[in-house]
Symmetry: C2
Subunit: 264 residues, 2 copies
Amino acid sequence: MRTHRHAFPLLAIEFIITAALLSSCAGQPAPPGSPSFSRVVDLGHALSETDPTWSGEKVYSHEIVATFAKDGYSAGKFSTEEHFGTHLDAPAHFAANGVTVDKIPADRLVRPAVVIDVKSAAASNEDYRLTVVDIQQFELAHGQIPEGTVVFVSTGWDERWTDPARYMNVRNGVKHFPGISVEAARLLAGDRKVAGIGIDTASIDYGPSEKFEAHQTTMPLGVYHIENATHLAELPASGFTVVVAPIKIKDGSGGPARVFALLR
Amino acid sequence: MRTHRHAFPLLAIEFIITAALLSSCAGQPAPPGSPSFSRVVDLGHALSETDPTWSGEKVYSHEIVATFAKDGYSAGKFSTEEHFGTHLDAPAHFAANGVTVDKIPADRLVRPAVVIDVKSAAASNEDYRLTVVDIQQFELAHGQIPEGTVVFVSTGWDERWTDPARYMNVRNGVKHFPGISVEAARLLAGDRKVAGIGIDTASIDYGPSEKFEAHQTTMPLGVYHIENATHLAELPASGFTVVVAPIKIKDGSGGPARVFALLR
């Protein structure tokens, strides 16, 4: 009887524990391993021989060396410049002592992220550069950008990606596309201490730049860039996580990168 | 006495509930954008010309084409086979109608993950293959592997990475390293419907395999593989998220991949 007398209360207690766990965690990451996000947005273009390139020359090639039909398996090889397609610039790209792409710590590549939307300004000025005022206005609405954030600048320029001539937009030897100002670069890298800056154009320095002033400002401070990103317009202004995953080239100054936004 | 007799157990139960709640909910959805993990583990090797290759021939090269000291910026280029280094096999690698690497949906690349530890068995048998019993024993301890999981098989083989001859371990023209059995492949891909299978050897098919039976079993079911992974021994058996980020090669059968484990 003693055994039986205790059996039922123990079952009840088990139920209480389970109910307490369920009610307190309802809607939250329930089963272990469940990620606390509901949607993944791929912020990268596929790499293709017809993609825009910085020089206008072909810098990427992909060759299929085995096919399932003929060989029973498929395989290929490719060659590319590091700074092609949706790619990461490691701090070493523009800083004497900057880390190379393989040395960026993994926890600096998985970060909270925000998106500053300058599509409207860029639509009427192809040489638009993100300003300090743009950042201030963003922060008025969304709070100060925390240290270690990845800041994306959404210009809408990625709609030109499939037309390389319009994307690089060269006139009289000068490129024209939006970027960020050196003052904005200084505020983000120096004061806000961001981890990275991403943009949906070919460079965070705007097209006409000759000296890459924004690069020169951010990279000595350990900031990386994501260039030729896409789908930034699908993201919320804040409240999401980004995973930045550049190919891990030993001693590389950068490389093609997968970039995933994890949305709640 | 009766009251006293129950007082201690009730306190103990309260403690259990509180501890359970704390461990299960602590630190979750705090500020928006905060990721629900505390540590990122990089599961990939850096790509280097001295890395092991499948054929034993050189299939990867990296060239520095500009240096900060000489040119004011650093840049390089590289060429590689798709299936080199820590890399992903897309289903197209071994399935007639399998998707190529650029077509794997992003949400299939960010998944709950588990690790099945066969280091002990592999230490005494270099041709060890994960068995159905290994999976059953894992599930007895950790619950059934949910659909869409990425399953890592930890063999400990990655400690040989820096010595390509020991890593590929060829004797009389036959490779020797651990993998997974075709029956285990069938259980994971067919019954458990996993998203991917990762391993810290050169292939999920063990070294002596000639017909790649595990590949032939998983890939027609849409499962991808991560090969030449590392640091699996640092991971818990379950309760974490993995981000699998292969280079996005249009029409590629796979490619070098970053793989990050996000640990709670």
